[in-house]
């Protein structure tokens, strides 16, 4: 029974105005109302609420479900014993217990089959097993021999290098001496003027001498230590070189022999600490003092030997192992060390340099962009179709429309690109693609040339492609085209720059060209024709007046002539008019 029912029973007029509101509410309450309307009692109670909405959206439908869920049995958790190292026979069994979801019986069944979940993470690194002492000794012999050979080779190389450098130095010194002598002679001859020079020299020379001394001393030193490699010292970087020299010396000192036990110990540690070299070095407490590099070297070279003697070995692995080089490693670390030893001032300087470099880069990119914009402006549309189709007015409008569309698209694209740059934030500006006509070789040859030049150079290129034999010749022409020519030369070559003149695309014969002076009325033209015939000036014939030989000069002269003829005719016409008028007035006055 709803409130409406009661109103019906009591015959009370329903408030019509509230009706739609109620309906609306009913529908809005529907989602949770529908489920609850099934039971009569709740529906009546709910309807008694009338137009008011319940204050809290109670999960009416959920009550039954939650009751049902309460009846469910709690999922069992069992404290299960487990062995973390089930398959590892090395370790003694320890049993721990953890809580697992599921009933005991079920879990016990499963447990028997499954290994401990985390056991799969317990992986051991695969290291070749150390061979017995005898083979080890053999290996070491071989290794030593090989290394000795390498060392000797290197020594030889270094020696040669040193000798070469010594020769160079001698030559340099000689040259210097000669120069000095020459200067001295010069000084003598012109002592007064070179007084300043002398001063500079005297300041300079002790330093030079000292340097030379140093060099000499070092070369002696090098000779003493014939067995060591000495890098000949350059004046500027004497300190660095000394460092490296020392390092090489250190590497060259015959390393302490690795006994079998020590190697065994090393292999053990490598296995225990999974080749984490810093840790191995840390735990390596054999009385012989080894560096990480020593340890690595020994391990790798022994491994190589072991693997080489195995039938089933991976050659790639051996190669990668033999890539290790102790001196190089030491050198690398030395570099790193130096890098870290920079002072704050040096770091700051470096940073500022980097920033500056970046600025330059940005500027260069910006310039590229601007240039490409400029090039797009210079770019003229290329003719791909025949000229005839543009000779009619329809063709021209088509062309115009096409050009407009292209232009619009270009603008739009530029806008889009700009927007993209804005949205992507501080991304460095990327220069837009250079238009085809302006790009690469095309750009180089054509963009800054006139059409004639373009045409010519294009032609040249074609001929080049066709006939490689004319290459040289054409090159000369090309060079000529690139040059700035004087007026005379231009005339001689028949070059002409059109400047502001409007040109039609395509090839035009001057004989078909219309002269600008001919844009006159037909009647005028007739009289012009008469005048020309009168003056006996030859034309190409027909209605189009042309000189017989339409060269540029004759064309312009001809044009001039026609213009002056037209002007003359006009003048004559005016004169005639005026005369007629005078006559008329005279006759009117009766003067005649």
């Amino acid at each position: 029974m709803s409130a409406n029912d009661i109103l019906d029973v009591l015959n009370v007029q329903r408030d019509e105005s509230k009706q739609p509101v109620k309906k609306k509410q009913k529908t809005s309450n529907d989602p949770y109302g529908s489920g609850q309307r099934q039971s009569g009692m709740a529906r009546e109670l709910y309807n008694l609420l009338g137009p008011n909405t319940p204050p809290v959206n109670l999960p009416l439908a959920g009550t039954a479900a939650s009751k049902a869920s309460l009846k469910l049995k709690a999922s069992p958790w069992t404290k299960m014993p487990f062995k973390p190292n089930k398959h590892n026979t090395d370790s003694k069994d320890v049993t721990f217990s953890h809580w697992v979801k599921g009933s005991r019986e079920l879990l016990e069944q499963e447990e028997a089959k499954k290994p401990y979940f985390f056991e799969k993470y317990n992986v051991k690194i695969d290291i070749p097993e150390l061979v017995d002492e005898e083979t080890y000794e053999k290996f070491m012999e071989e290794i030593k021999e090989r290394e000795k050979r390498i060392r000797e080779e290197r020594r030889q190389r270094e020696k040669e290098k040193r000798e070469q450098e010594a020769r160079d130095r001698e030559r340099r010194e000689k040259e210097q001496k000669e120069q000095k002598e020459a200067a001295n002679i010069g000084d003598k001859s012109d002592s007064k003027s070179s007084e300043d020079e002398m001063k500079v020299k005297s300041e300079d020379s002790p330093i030079k001498d000292k340097k030379e001394d140093k060099e000499k001393a070092e070369s002696i030193h090098a000779n003493d230590k014939e067995s060591y490699n000495t890098i000949s010292v350059d004046d500027s970087s004497s300190k660095d070189a000394k460092d490296s020299q020392e390092s090489i010396e250190a590497a060259e000192v015959e390393p302490e022999d690795w006994s079998y036990e020590e190697t065994q110990y090393l292999f053990e540690l490598c296995g225990d600490f999974e080749l984490k070299w810093p840790v191995i070095y840390d735990r390596f407490s054999y009385p012989t003092h080894r560096s990480v590099e020593d340890l690595k070297e020994q391990f790798y070279r022994i491994c190589i030997k072991i693997l080489e003697n195995q039938s089933t070995s991976n050659p790639a692995l051996i190669e990668s192992l033999s890539a290790y080089s102790k001196p190089r490693e030491l050198e690398r670390k030395q570099y790193l060390e130096n890098l870290l030893r920079r002072t704050p001032a040096e770091i700051a300087e470096e940073e500022s340099l980097v920033i500056e470099a970046r600025r330059f880069e940005l500027a260069a990119k910006k310039m590229l962009i601007e240039r490409s914009h400029l090039l797009t402006l210079l770019d003229s549309p290329q003719t791909t179709q025949q000229v005839q189709q543009f000779q009619s007015s329809q063709g021209l409008t088509n062309l115009y429309n096409n050009l407009m569309i292209i232009d619009k698209n270009q603008k739009k694209r530029q806008l889009q690109q700009q927007q993209k740059q804005v949205t992507t934030g501080n991304q460095e500006p990327v220069p837009p693609p250079i238009p085809i006509a302006a790009s690469s070789s095309f750009k180089k040859d054509r963009s800054f040339q006139t059409h004639l030049q373009q045409y010519l150079s294009g032609l040249l290129k074609q001929s080049q492609n066709l006939n490689p034999n004319v290459k040289r010749e054409s090159n000369a022409i090309q060079q000529l085209l690139m040059k700035r020519l004087t007026q005379k030369e231009e005339e001689a070559y028949g070059l002409f720059f059109h400047g502001t003149e409007k040109l039609n695309p395509g090839v035009i014969l001057r004989s078909t060209q219309k002269l600008p002076g001919l844009q006159q009325k037909q009647s005028v033209l007739k009289s012009v024709n008469a005048v020309l015939q009168e003056l006996d000036i030859p034309t190409a014939g027909g209605t189009s007046w042309k000189p017989v030989m339409p060269t540029r000069k004759t064309m312009t002269k001809y044009d001039e002539l026609i213009r002056s003829v037209v002007a003359l005719l006009e003048l004559k016409k005016g004169k005639d008019k005026l005369e007629a008028e005078i006559r008329l007035i005279k006759s009117q006055r009766g003067l005649q």
């Binding site: 973390p84 190292n85 590892n88 370790s91 003694k92 069994d93 320890v94 049993t95 721990f96 217990s97 953890h98 809580w99 401990y116 979940f117 985390f118 056991e119 993470y121 317990n122 460092d243 020392e246 390092s247 010396e249 250190a250 000192v253 015959e254 390393p255 302490e256 053990e268 225990d272 600490f273 984490k276 810093p278 840790v279 070095y281 840390d282 735990r283 407490s285 054999y286 009385p287 012989t288 003092h289 560096s291 990480v292 590099e293 030491l330 670390k333 030395q334 790193l336 060390e337 890098l339 870290l340 030893r341 920079r342 002072t343 704050p344 770091i347």
Partner: protein, 491 residues
């Protein structure tokens, strides 16, 4: 967690309720792995009757020992003893007694149900470790145990496998590089310029002022008090106490005062207080003596003392251990100049090879650790390393390839590191001395977490599923032998 990306990652935890024991030189922490805080946090001290201990030795009767906060109850004739020194157990009987007290009486655990993880300092000697392991196997009935190095635990707590753990604790300051969760022992350093050093300085400072009407009494003696300020005499009444309160008990109570002083008053100055420039030193002193830098410390007697420059000077001694000059000769002797090098023993120490070839040590990228402190003694003053010098030195000894990553992950831990401004000062000094490295300090913000960080790390470690293959059972220990287990399993 519901996203698909996470479905591939495995939840690495697997609780087996292992016990984690972290004996520190000030506090001992015991609790269950997987918890975020130890269940038991007890001072590493015990109280025992002074005369009884003698009798017990004779009669083979167990000594009656009191642990935990109960130590603070004033009893007649009860001595207070430390169990650990430098995070190393020195009083084995008491230690085992204390642990079994907590295991059985407080936590009520069955030994055989779970393994135990024990933390140990980096400088623990092989012999000590062996004793520790053997004692635990014999004395208790744990099925398995594991020794974890404290810095390793700290690195686990922070989840940083490569880091430099700077532990500013009670007895010692230690700096340990951790690589892939394994401590590098040769590069580790330790000095004693830590909490106890500060406490002794405070004690020295207060004692020197004691003549001028400053009365310092343990809180246990005070019944009532009226607040006064230092030049005025203290006004308080004492409690009725059992007679024959021992000296060690009184000292223990006074230590608490120093400790409180340390926690509330000290602050690290922005810059080194001693400088070769006298002018600058004077201005610094003036600056820190100003009114705004003064704090008052109230002693249990109700008397409060205003301190300005001293509170900075004391804290500065962590960075510059020689800034404070002891009035008391004996205390000064307690802290000989210490460069922080650790003496590590190995089984090969007595063996010397016959042929020694000169090595160019200067050029090795991994500088060999300084072999003996005697070498440093000659250089004298420069050998005393404050906190930042200690770290810088450690950084300079680490392999060049690791240096950058380690410098970027410096973890500052330990209770004394909670002194205000300590990390800031440390950061400034380290960035100044290592311009080429990018220094980053990590310090837990929560103060209780910072002082118990190693326990929490142990708790993390022992609750990992992958860790359960690492436990070492007694049988395995017996079979493989102490040395092998200690070196290759408890790494």
């Amino acid at each position: 967690m519901s996203s698909a990306a996470n479905s591939t990652t495995v939840y690495g935890g697997d609780e087996i309720n292992a016990i984690v024991l972290d004996p520190g030189s000030y506090h001992t922490r015991i609790g269950y792995a997987g918890n975020d805080f130890p269940k038991v946090l007890s001072p590493s001290y015990y109280a025992s009757p002074a005369d009884e201990s003698m009798e017990a030795e004779e009669n083979k009767k167990p000594v009656r020992r009191i642990f935990g906060e109960d130590i603070n109850v004033p009893r007649s004739n009860y001595n207070v003893h430390p169990i650990l020194k430098d995070s190393v157990i020195v009083d084995w009987d008491a230690a085992l007694d204390q642990y079994s007290y907590y295991f059985k009486k407080v936590l009520n655990i069955e030994y055989n149900e779970q393994p135990i993880l024990i933390t140990e300092p980096v400088w623990a000697e092989p012999k000590y470790r062996q004793t520790l392991v053997e004692n635990f196997y014999e004395y208790y009935d744990f099925p398995a145990l594991y020794l974890a190095k404290t810095p390793t635990c700290v690195s686990f707590q922070q989840g940083r496998p490569n880091c430099l753990v700077v532990d500013v604790g009670h007895d010692s300051v230690s700096v340990t590089p951790v690589i892939d969760g394994i401590c590098l022992l040769k590069n580790s350093m330790r000095t004693h310029y830590a909490g106890q050093f500060l406490s002794d300085q405070i004690k020295d400072l207060i004692e020197s002022k004691k003549k001028e009407n400053l009365s310092v009494e343990g809180i246990y003696k005070i019944k009532s008090k009226i607040p006064t300020v230092f030049p005025e005499p203290a006004e308080f009444t004492t409690r009725n106490l059992p007679d024959k309160i021992t000296k060690s008990y009184d000292e223990f109570q006074k230590q608490k005062i120093w400790h409180e002083f340390k926690e509330t008053i000290l602050e690290v100055p922005e810059r080194r207080l001693t400088s070769p420039n006298m002018q600058q030193a004077a201005t610094l002193k003036e600056f820190y003596s100003s009114e705004s830098h003064q704090r008052a410390f109230e002693f249990p007697t109700g008397q409060s003392l205003n301190l300005g420059y001293e509170r900075y000077q004391l804290a500065d001694s962590l960075f510059d251990p020689q800034v404070y000059k002891f009035h008391n000769e004996e205390l000064a002797k307690k802290y000989p100049p210490n460069g922080g090098e650790l003496l590590l023993k190995s089984k090969y120490d007595d063996y010397r090879p016959l042929k020694r070839v000169r090595k160019a040590e200067s050029n090795q990228s991994t500088p060999p650790p300084v072999e003996s402190p005697t070498k440093g003694d000659k250089s004298g003053k420069s050998d005393v390393r404050g906190l930042s010098q200690l770290i810088t030195h450690t950084l300079s000894t680490i392999d060049i390839d690791l240096r950058a990553s380690v410098a970027h992950n410096i973890i500052v831990t330990g209770g004394v590191s909670l002194i205000p401004q300590l990390t800031e000062r440390l950061y400034n000094e380290l960035t100044n001395t290592n311009p080429g490295l990018k220094i980053r300090l990590h310090a837990v913000g929560n103060s209780t977490e910072r002082s118990n960080q190693s326990w929490i790390g142990g708790s993390v470690l022992a609750s990992l599923g992958t860790f359960h293959q690492m436990w070492v059972s007694k049988e395995e220990y017996d079979e493989a032998g102490a040395e092998r287990i200690l070196n290759s399993r408890f790494r």
